[in-house]
């Protein structure tokens, strides 16, 4: 957050929008303690009309984050627990024969909520996974030849547990590409954990907070976020980053054009949230690990063990023009 200078006054969005964003961040920060950066990223992902993959160990607040997002943003919420016996129909919905009318009627599945939490998405079969991913991509579902529009805004938060190896179907790179961002929450720091321990029950808190946004405002914010000014030097920077991922010997698979588009959209949304007058290099860097990490594949002889480390390496190796 910038403070104490005249630049804050530059109106990017009207005061009401700004106030709503700030209120949403405050409310989220009050529930998910010590994760301001991740909250900003989640909001940026949402404002960029992307979907979010949270990859971390259980118990780190993935579900709480998703639930509080839904609550604070005023979105309808559905949770789908992915298991190995989950069928596509369980996600999308089924046509049921209606006795009274003598016709089949479509029963909408949980995917028709505005915010869908797909919990432990790697535990379901690829068939169930692809039902979700297709819906995410198309923003519509086709059942029995009928197309059903998904709501707008539409935001899928999927979680997966990276340490579960037995009986899981990890999402392949091509599928991961569908998520705009992948986040790792990580352990809270000391202070946050202490506050968590002595504070009220999170689930209780969740029911008490008031929504700061609503779907209408959210759509407006999404439009505004896409309009944030981006100068030539910044495009140069993004291109330099992308070129590096493609040329570096450390990286086997670099960023695709979809990846660089994702980077631009996410950086714009981040700049919008931070109330920057344009997209700054800091915005690009802030979203880079989340946006690029899961799209990069390290070379087999690479010294970097995780994708996050690899992403950092990219950032540290490219001079900001």
């Amino acid at each position: 957050m910038q403070q104490g200078n005249t630049l804050e006054k530059l109106p990017l969005s009207d005061d009401k929008q700004r106030a709503a964003i700030d209120a949403a961040r405050r409310s989220l920060g009050g529930i998910v303690l010590g994760k301001d950066a991740e909250i900003s990223l989640s909001l940026a992902c949402l404002f960029a009309r992307g979907h979010l993959l949270i990859e971390d160990l259980p118990g780190l607040g993935k579900t709480i984050l998703a639930q509080s997002l839904a609550r604070v943003l005023g979105l309808s919420f559905q949770r789908v627990q992915f298991t190995s016996d989950l069928l596509p129909a369980d996600i999308v919905g089924v046509s049921v024969f209606h006795q009274g009318s003598g016709q089949f009627q479509f029963q909408k599945g949980p995917i028709f909520a505005e915010l869908v939490l797909a919990d432990e998405v790697n535990r379901a079969t690829p068939k169930a996974q692809s039902a979700l991913l297709e819906a995410m991509e198309e923003r519509q579902v086709s059942v029995d030849g009928t197309t059903h529009e998904l709501p707008s805004p539409y935001f899928v938060v999927a979680t997966q547990n990276p340490s579960d190896q037995i009986g899981t179907f990890p999402l392949p790179e091509s599928q991961l590409d569908r998520f705009l961002m992948r986040l790792e929450l990580g352990y809270p720091n000391e202070d946050s954990e202490r506050a968590l321990l002595i504070g009220a029950d999170r689930r209780q808190l969740l029911t008490e907070i008031e929504p700061s946004l609503n779907p209408d405002i959210l759509r407006e914010l999404q439009k505004a976020a896409a309009r944030v000014h981006m100068t030539d030097p910044l495009v140069d920077y993004i291109q330099a980053l992308v070129r590096f991922t493609r040329e570096s010997p450390e990286i086997e698979i670099g960023l695709s054009p979809r990846g660089s588009l994702a980077l631009v959209a996410a950086a714009r949304a981040h700049a919008f949230i931070e109330n920057h007058s344009g997209v700054f290099p800091d915005d690009v860097q802030a979203v880079f690990v989340a946006v690029a990490g899961h799209r990069l594949k390290a070379a087999s002889n690479s010294a970097f063990r995780t994708q996050a480390e690899l992403s950092r390496h990219v950032l540290d190796s490219v001079r900001i023009p």
Binding site: Q2, T231, P233, G278, F280, D282, S317, I320
Partner: protein, 654 residues
């Protein structure tokens, strides 16, 4: 200094130039300002400068209000008015000085510079000399430079601002010239500059009291300049008739007001060759119009001939006026004199000057004829111990007696007065003519300069059959005064005063050159009125120039000029290099002494810098913000200049 309440010193670089520009604008007013106003200006300027330098506080509002009221009352007391050029410019100057005391920001300096421009212009209301134009240009340049210097970064040199200002003035010059040439002049201006009442008038007084003032100061000021169409008349014919005095009360001669006499011209019998010429007369604020004795035609509007063949104008001559006239130096005047008039031209007070009267009657009786008598009186002046001096002793109760029989020292007025009294005592009608005699030819401009020092008084006497004719008793005493003019005599003392051996001739030449230039200036620039304009338009080929045509021409020319200048500007325009902000930023990181890491964003860098060098935290944040806005923000919100200023300041303080 935890809490600083004084000024922040932010005007330290621009204020001196603002002060200088303001001072420049005030200088031409100084000689007219009351001393306290000058003092106020100097004190306020010095005070404000110290305030900025020492970070003092500016005076509180009540002191400023008190000062403003005091100065207002001061102007009222000094001028007994607040309108008019004098009090107006005095008020402007002192209020500008007081404005300095509440000048906190750039905006206030703008106001001061506006006032400077106004002061510069208002000095033109007083006089428009030839040096007014260079002064005007210099003043505008100076003000513009100060103006621009205020807006650029602190480190920028004044030379750069001056260059920009000069360029702006150069761009404006063709527009100015076009407007000056083509903007339609009208005969009667929309406004009139109020004349200061009570300010000194130059020119002739309309009364004459020889003996009251015991010395005559020779003013070198130009009374009028004359261009002769042919050869100028010889010096002894250069009598410029002004006004005529004919009532004498024993001390003072007075004349009639400027009233028209339709018969005056018919009383003149013109003879010989006409002399035609143009006179450019400096303003006198009087009604009298000077012409070579005696005029037959003149081109000035609302001007007529009064009873004694003197020219007068209905309105006083408030501004420099040019007219042409035709005179005949050979003439006969008023062959007939009615008995009524004869009485009035021979009237003397019952008492006073008894000795002179007796002397005149005695001499007339001995002489036998009027002509002989007149010659004898002139011979008396010539042969006896009469001296021409500009510093005669004061005269007593009967000034003519004292002069003729005791002091015998005087200048033209004394002789003219004494002569007229003697004539009247002998029953010969006589009167005193005031005007100018002589004038020097300026070989550089082929024209004649007549100065205030050429003011002269002579007599006219009436003899039956001959009419009025001119007698100049001063010529009998000091013929060189009449024949030679004054030539270089007036410069005789100067060289000695300055300790120079022979500069008088050089100075004399210099003065003549200067005057020739001034005359051209008056002729071509200041006299560019409706007549000259339409003549010039015709010369340019415009048929029947009228204001619509001139306006149209002006608009077309302006459009073309603006188009040309715009084209020039567009051609010269070089967009600032795209990475200008980046260059400034690397200047900043270099000055900070900490290199940004590879891939380190400005914000991260600024944070790191703040941690490593706590003193730099604020400025680093500020510069980083400006840089991000300038480089990555939408264009035009915060430009390069602000960043430049901040970086310059940062690197200077390092």
């Amino acid at each position: 200094m935890s809490k600083r309440t004084g000024t922040d010193g932010s005007l330290l670089t621009s204020l001196p130039w603002t002060l200088a520009a303001l001072t420049f604008a005030v200088v031409p007013h100084l000689q007219f300002l009351p001393f306290w106003a000058t003092g106020t200006f100097i004190v306020c300027a010095g005070w404000r400068w110290q305030v900025e330098r020492k970070r003092w506080r500016l005076p509180p509002a009540w002191i400023r209000i008190l000062l403003a009221l005091t100065c207002f009352v001061g102007v009222l007391l000094s001028y007994e008015s607040v309108s008019g050029v004098g009090p107006g410019s005095a008020l402007l100057a002192v209020m500008a000085a007081l404005k300095l005391l509440e000048t906190r920001q750039r905006r206030d300096q703008f106001v001061l510079l506006f006032i400077s421009i106004f002061l510069i212009m208002s000095s033109l209301l007083r006089e428009q000399y030839m040096w007014s134009l260079p002064f005007l240009i210099a003043g505008v340049l100076f003000t513009m430079t100060a103006w621009l210097h205020m807006s650029v970064s602190r480190q920028a040199s004044i030379g750069g601002s001056f260059k920009s200002a000069a360029r702006l003035v150069a761009y404006a010059a063709p527009l100015m010239i076009a407007m000056w040439i083509f903007f339609p002049r009208i005969a009667t201006p929309f406004w009139a500059v109020p004349i200061d009442s009570g300010s000194a008038t130059s020119g002739l007084s309309d009364r004459m009291s020889p003996g009251d003032i015991s010395s005559l100061s020779l003013s070198n000021a130009v009374a009028f300049r004359v261009n002769f169409d042919g050869t100028p008349p010889p010096p002894h014919q250069r009598y410029w008739r002004g006004l005529v005095l004919y009532n004498y009360n024993g001390r003072t001669w007075t004349g009639g007001g400027p009233s028209i006499d339709p018969l005056a011209r018919s009383e003149v019998e013109y003879a010989g060759e006409p002399v035609s010429y143009q006179v450019t007369m400096e303003p006198t604020r009087q009604h009298w119009v000077f012409a070579l004795d005696v005029p037959s035609e003149w081109s000035l509007d609302r001007t007529f001939m009064a009873s004694q063949q003197q020219l007068a104008r209905m309105q006083p001559l408030d501004q420099r006026t040019t007219y042409s006239a035709v005179s005949y130096t050979d003439f006969r005047l008023g062959r007939q004199l009615s008995s009524f008039r004869r009485i009035s031209y021979t009237r003397l007070p019952e008492t006073g000057n008894e000795r002179s009267k007796a002397f005149a009657r005695e001499l007339r009786a001995k002489a036998g004829s009027d002509e002989v008598f007149i010659n004898q009186v002139l011979q008396k002046f010539n042969r006896e111990e009469f001296y021409y001096t500009l510093e005669p002793p004061a005269l007593g109760e009967s000034p003519v007696d004292s002069f003729l029989f005791e002091t015998r020292r005087g200048f033209c007025e004394h002789y003219a007065s004494a002569f007229a009294v003697l004539m009247r005592a002998a029953g010969i009608p006589s009167r005193v003519v005031l005007g100018y005699q002589g004038g020097e030819i300026n070989p550089l401009g082929q024209y004649m300069i007549v100065r205030q020092a050429d003011a002269h008084a002579w007599n006219e006497v009436w003899l039956p059959g001959r009419g009025w004719y001119r007698v100049d008793p001063t010529a009998a005493v000091a013929p060189e005064r009449i024949d030679a003019g004054r030539s270089g005599a007036m410069f005789d003392g100067i060289g000695a005063d300055w300790g120079l051996s022979a500069p008088s001739e050089f100075l004399y030449q210099l003065t003549l050159t200067w005057d020739a230039l001034n005359a051209k200036w008056n002729e071509w620039i200041l006299a560019y009125g409706p007549d000259n304009q339409s003549r010039f338009m015709e010369w340019l080929g415009m048929q029947d120039p009228d204001w619509q045509k001139m306006m149209l021409t002006l608009v077309v020319i302006l459009a073309i000029l603006i188009g040309l200048i715009s084209a020039l500007l567009i051609m010269r325009y070089r967009p600032p290099p795209k990475d200008h902000a980046a260059r400034l930023y690397s200047k900043f990181t270099a000055a900070a002494g900490v290199d940004p890491g590879m891939g380190e964003t400005p914000l991260t860098y600024s944070k790191r810098l703040g941690e490593e060098r706590a003193t730099l935290r604020e400025s680093a944040q500020h510069i980083t913000d400006l840089y991000l806005q300038a480089r990555y923000g939408p264009p035009g919100v915060i430009g390069i200049p602000a960043l430049q200023t901040a970086v310059d300041e940062f690197s200077r303080n390092r």
